[in-house]
């Protein structure tokens, strides 16, 4: 089984060679996209226009939703194994889980106060 592992190194080498090739060739074959946005936040450039959709602010909803997802996702990931082994873990396991959930709740509280739960 172990001997099959040697090819990993080969693959790494191959990857490096391929990447090197791609990077080297890119300037010659790639289309040249002159991107003015590259520098436009400086005083001489054009101002970035705020997106009308979100009224000049960052689409906070997206992040806050993502954070919400993480909060509960993480909780579940650990809750499942704990639930399965609850009998064997006993009081210590319960205490540990409560502490963990409490910590996760902090993030939840932060999100709530920052308006992440207000769906307009």
């Amino acid at each position: 089984m172990l001997s099959t592992y040697v090819p990993i190194v080969g693959l790494f080498a191959l990857a490096a060679a391929f990447a090197l090739f791609s990077v080297a060739v890119a300037p010659f074959v790639g289309p040249r996209r002159y991107n003015r946005a590259k520098l436009d936040a400086y005083e001489c450039g054009i101002e970035p226009v705020d997106q009308p959709l979100t009224g000049g602010r960052f689409p906070v909803k997206y992040y806050l939703t993502a954070m919400l997802f993480i909060v509960f996702d993480i909780e579940i990931v650990f809750l499942y194994p704990w639930a399965v082994a609850n009998d064997a873990l006993g009081v210590w396991g319960l205490v540990a889980m409560v502490v963990f959930i409490g910590t996760v709740f902090l993030a939840f509280a932060y999100e709530w106060r920052r308006g992440g739960l207000e769906w307009d």
Binding site: P7, I8, S22, A66
Partner: protein, 99 residues
């Protein structure tokens, strides 16, 4: 079934991820490639958990998933903020700091 197939598959996935990081321009795609590398590791871990007869590998995989999720949030926040300013998510455009 020979477990080494899983390991080789994981290695291939990891390599694809690594190469993806090198050749893709879009920061989001680059980031997805990194996630692919992490998941390849998860596959490796599960396989080893099986082969060594220990449960640690599975637990570690759970931790990796959690960490990866946290990384997604942080990563997307950073990538989005630069996209909002530059109107471009190409990693090649973020090129003011050099030499």
């Amino acid at each position: 079934m020979n477990l080494s197939y899983y390991l080789v598959l994981a290695a291939i996935l990891f390599t694809i991820g690594a190469v993806g990081v090198l050749v893709r321009r879009n920061a989001i795609v680059v980031f997805m490639c990194i996630e692919l590398m992490l998941n390849a590791v998860n596959l490796t871990l599960i396989t080893f958990a099986r082969s060594t007869g220990t449960v640690d590998g599975q637990i570690i995989a759970l931790f990796v998933m959690v960490v990866a999720a946290a990384e997604v949030v942080v990563g997307l926040a950073i990538i989005m903020s630069i996209y909002r300013t530059r109107r471009s998510a190409s990693v090649d455009d973020a090129n003011l700091l050099k030499y």
